[in-house]
Symmetry: D5
Subunit: 92 residues, 10 copies
C-alpha cells in the first residue's frame, strides 16, 4: 500500500553544528535501512529546497506513522502524507 | 531526469458524456504508450480525488512540456510540476 | 484502519431538481448500506455548510478509493482524505 | 453535542526535555480522564504529524472551551474547532 | 450559546431577476422572524461586500444547523461558523 | 459606527510569567473600562483558541486605532478589522 | 475619514457586449461624479489587472457601503475594504 | 526598466474553437511585434501549464499597462506583475 | 509614476527598547524628508495593525527600491509593492 | 535548459553582523562566477523585498540543485523553482 510523503526540514537556529551532523548521519542510516527492507521505495530531493518527496510501501496507517515518527529528524520536519491507490491507466 | 507532476481533472459542466468517454479512452491509450516507452515511470491515484501523482523521466523541460501538453485531457487538467534531483540518502 | 474524510458538495447550476433528488436518494442508500456493513463508521454534518466529516474503517487505500469513488455524488464532491493512526493517549 | 477539533503541537525551542516530558505525562492523564468520563469520544493521530483529530461530546461551547483550555499542552497547541450536527444520512 | 457566522452570497449567473427578488424577500421575512424570537441576535453588513456577520443564540449545534439550512438563500451562500464562549474580560 | 475585530494573542517565548500576568491584568482593566463607557460593545472568546471577536462602537477610524493600539497586549496581538454597516434585514 | 478599497472586476461570460459597454459608461459617470464631490479621492489602475485601488473620504461606514453598493458594476466586482487612520509620521 | 509578468490563460467554456484560434493567432502577431521592437524581452512557457513568465522593458507603469491590456488574450488572462530592480550581484 | 506599498513592521523579540526607539526616530526623520521632497505622497496607518499603506511617486523601479531599502526599519518590514497606472475613470 | 528561481533571504536574528557580511561577500563572489560561466543568466532584485528572481541555464535538475545548494546563503534562503520551456510565440 503506497503513500506519498513530502518532508520539509528546518533546524532550530540554536542547534549546534555537530548535533546537526550527528542527526543527519543517523537519518541517513535509518533511511537506508528502510530502503533496503523494501518499505521505503523512493526518495527524491526537491530541487532548490531542503525537502524531499518519498514513497512508502507499508501494510497500514499505523505502520507508516511508526516509521515516520521514528526518523531521527522527525522533530525537525514538516510532513504531508497523501494516501495513493492504483490508477486505472497504470500498466504495472 | 525525474519530475513529479500532480494532475487534477475537471470536466466542463457542458461536455456530453460520450465526449468525456472518448477523451478518457484516448487518455488511457496515450498514457500507457508513454509508460511502455519508459518515460512515464509511475502514475498513482490520489485517494478520494479525481487526481493523480505521476513521475516522468525525460531529457529536458521542453520534452516534458511536449508530453504533458499532448495528453488528451490536458485542456481539462491543472498540473503542478516539481523538478526532482538525486537525494543524498537514496541507495539506488 | 481509519481515515477521516471531509466532503464538500456542489451541484452544477444546470442540474435539474429531480436529477438532484434522485442522486441524493441514491447517495443515502449507498451511504447507509456502508454504515451497516461497518466500514463507514461516522458521518457528521458540518454546521452551516453542505459538507460532512466522515470516518471510514477499511483494509487499504485501494478499498477506500473504491468506496469513495462509488458514491453517487462523487462527481459533485470535493474530498480531502486524512489517514489516521492510533493515538498514544487513546484508551480504547 | 459533538465537535471535531484538530490540534497541532509545537514546543518552543527553548523548553528543556524534562519539562516537555512532564507536560506530556500530564497531558496523557488529563486526556484519559476526559475519555473515561465520556466527554472525549475519540482521539486519532494524524499520520506523519505531531497532530490529532479529536471528537468531544459536551453540553455547550463554554464547556468545550473550558476543557480545551485546561489541557496541559494548551499553550503549545493550535486548535481548530468545527461544530458538528446530525447528518440526515446517519443511521445511528 | 453564541455563534458568529459569516455569510457570503453569490447568485448563479442564470437566475432570473424576479426569482432573485422573490428569494430576497423570503430571506428578509425569515431573517426578521428569527431576530424577533431572540435566536438571531445581530446581523451586520460587511462594508463593500455582499456578505454579513451574524450572531446566533441557540441551544445546540443541531438547532443552529437547522436554522442556517432553512434560510431561503442557503443554497447560494457560503457560511463559516465560529463557536463563541464567554470571555474572561467581558463585564456582561 | 461598528467594527468587528478579531484578535489573536501570542506571547514571545522569552517573556517571564510575571510580566505576562501583569500585562493580562492591565489588559483586563483597560478592556473593562472601555466596555463600561459603551465603546466596546462585545467581546467573545473563540472556542479553543487564544483569540477573541470584539465589536467596537466608535466615531471614526482614528478613534478605533487609538483604542486598539492602546491595549496593553497590542504588541502581542494580531488584529484584523472589518468595518460594519447597517444590514437591510436588521430589525434593530 | 479614509478607506482604501481594492476592486476586482469580472463580468459573467454570458453578458452581451453592449450591456457591458452600457454598464462601463454608467460606472464612469457615477465614479466621476463622486470624484468631483470630493468623497472619492483617488482611483488607480493595478498594472496588468482589471482592478483598481481607490481611496474614499466619507463620514461613516454606512456612507461608504451606500456608495460602494451604488456603483453600476458592484454586482460584478469583488471589493476589499481597509479602514485607514492618520499615520504618526505623516506630515500633512 | 524591467518587470516580470506571470500570465495564466483560461478560455471560457462557451468560446467556439475558431474564435479561440483567431485570438491565438492575433496574440502571436501582437506578441512577436513587441518582441521585435525590444520592449518584450523574454517569454517562457511554464512547464505543464497554459501559462508563461514574461519580461518587459518599458519606460513606465502606464506604458506597461497599455501593452498588457492590449494583448488580444488580455480578457482571458490572469496577470501578476512584479517590478524588478538592478541586483547588486548582477554583472551585466 | 505611482506605486502602492504595504509595509508590515515586526521587531525581533531580542531588540532592546532603546534600539527600537532609536530606529523609530530615524524612520520618522527619513520618512518625513521623503514626504517633503514630493516622492512620498501618502502614508496611512492600517487600523489595528502595525502596518501602513504608502504611495510613492518616483521615476523608476530602481529609484523606488533604493528608497525602500534605505528606510531605517527596512530589515524589520515586509513590503508588498503594487505598480499603479492612470485609471480611465480618474478625473485628475 | 532554463529555470526561473525565486529566492527570499531571511537571516536568523542571532547572526552577528560580521558573519552576515562575510556570507554576503561570499555569495556575491559565488554568484558572479556562475554568471560569468554562462549558467546563471539573469538576476533581478524584487522591488521592496530582500528577494530576487533568477534564471539559470543548466543541463539537468541535478546540476541545478547542486548549484543552488552551493550558494553560501542557501541555508538562509527559501527557493521556489519553476522549470521553463520554449514558448511557441517566442522569436528567439
Amino acid at each position: 500500500m503506497l503513500y506519498l510523503v513530502r518532508m520539509d526540514v528546518a533546524f532550530p537556529e540554536s542547534m549546534p553544528a555537530d548535533e546537526r551532523d550527528r542527526l543527519k548521519a543517523a537519518e541517513k542510516e535509518f533511511s537506508q535501512a528502510l530502503q533496503r527492507d523494501g518499505r521505503f521505495r523512493h526518495i527524491w530531493r526537491v530541487v532548490g529546497e531542503y525537502a524531499n518527496y518519498s514513497v512508502f510501501d507499508v501494510a497500514s496507517n499505523d505502520e507508516l506513522h511508526e516509521i515516520l515518527s521514528g526518523f531521527p529528524l522527525f522533530p525537525y520536519m514538516t510532513m504531508k502524507v497523501t494516501p495513493l491507490a492504483k490508477h486505472p491507466n497504470a500498466i504495472d
